[in-house]
């Protein structure tokens, strides 16, 4: 798995944790960003 895909994959749990720690919408944004990076990063 590429560095980009792994970054996206790790941003998802960071985003989920941020939903509870910071702000629901901010956490959703970070998790969604992670998902987008995971899907579109080069293999």
């Amino acid at each position: 798995m590429s560095v980009g895909k792994k970054t996206g994959l790790w941003l998802i749990p960071f985003g989920v944790a941020e939903m509870f720690l910071i702000n629901l919408y901010f956490g959703i944004f970070v998790a969604a960003l992670g998902l987008v990076v995971f899907i579109f990063a080069k293999k």
Binding site: V3, G4, K6, T7, W10, L11, F14, G15, A17, E18, L21, I22, N23, Y25, F26, F29, V30, L33, V37
Partner: protein
């Protein structure tokens, strides 16, 4: 690519940096609502990115590290409160926060400097500490405003360096060191 002396490059950078910063200060309040306004945070990410040369190939690492930094910032901020609520805990709140930071710093640095360092882009700890510092300053509030300010601050550094390189060339190697 043409080359120039460090003095010429710095002079050009100084002249280019001012209008770019002015643009940042004008644009930020237009895209961020007053309730999220933390325009000063851009001046935290800007020097962190400048100090490593503000190379465009590094931007994504700084950008994604910032979002991981928010998680650690709030771990630092909230953890002291969790420990204070433990039954039988009898230490002052400031010392509890200090002890909590002492404990959390280890997994934070191990994760990003060792475990994630080569396998992900989440490996720029100075940027994460920049996020931690700005989150502390806002008491953990205004995360969207902070994320936008930190990103725009890095963009100011990136655009300034790129325009300077385009205008006068890169500084010569002997002068740059």
């Amino acid at each position: 690519m043409k080359e120039c002396t460090m003095k010429t490059w710095m002079t050009a950078l100084s002249l280019i940096f001012c209008p770019i910063t002015f643009l940042y200060l004008v644009i930020y309040p237009l895209i961020v609502p007053e309730s999220q306004n933390v325009v000063w945070a851009g001046f935290v990410s800007m020097p962190i990115y400048f100090i490593v040369g503000a190379k465009k190939e590094d931007f994504h690492r700084f950008f994604y590290s910032m979002f991981a930094g928010f998680f650690w910032a709030h771990m630092f901020l909230r953890g002291g409160g969790w420990v204070l609520n433990l039954l039988g805990w009898n230490v002052s709140s400031s010392m509890t926060s200090n002890l909590w930071i002492l404990v959390v710093c280890a997994p934070f640095l191990l994760a990003h400097l060792v475990w994630f360092a080569n396998s992900t882009w989440l490996n720029v700890c100075p940027m994460m500490f920049g996020t931690v510092a700005t989150s502390f300053a806002t008491g953990g509030q205004r995360p969207f405003g902070l994320a936008i300010a930190l990103t725009l601050g890095m963009l100011v550094a990136l655009v300034s360096v790129q325009l300077t390189n385009a205008a006068v060339g890169k500084p010569t190697l002997g002068q740059a060191t």
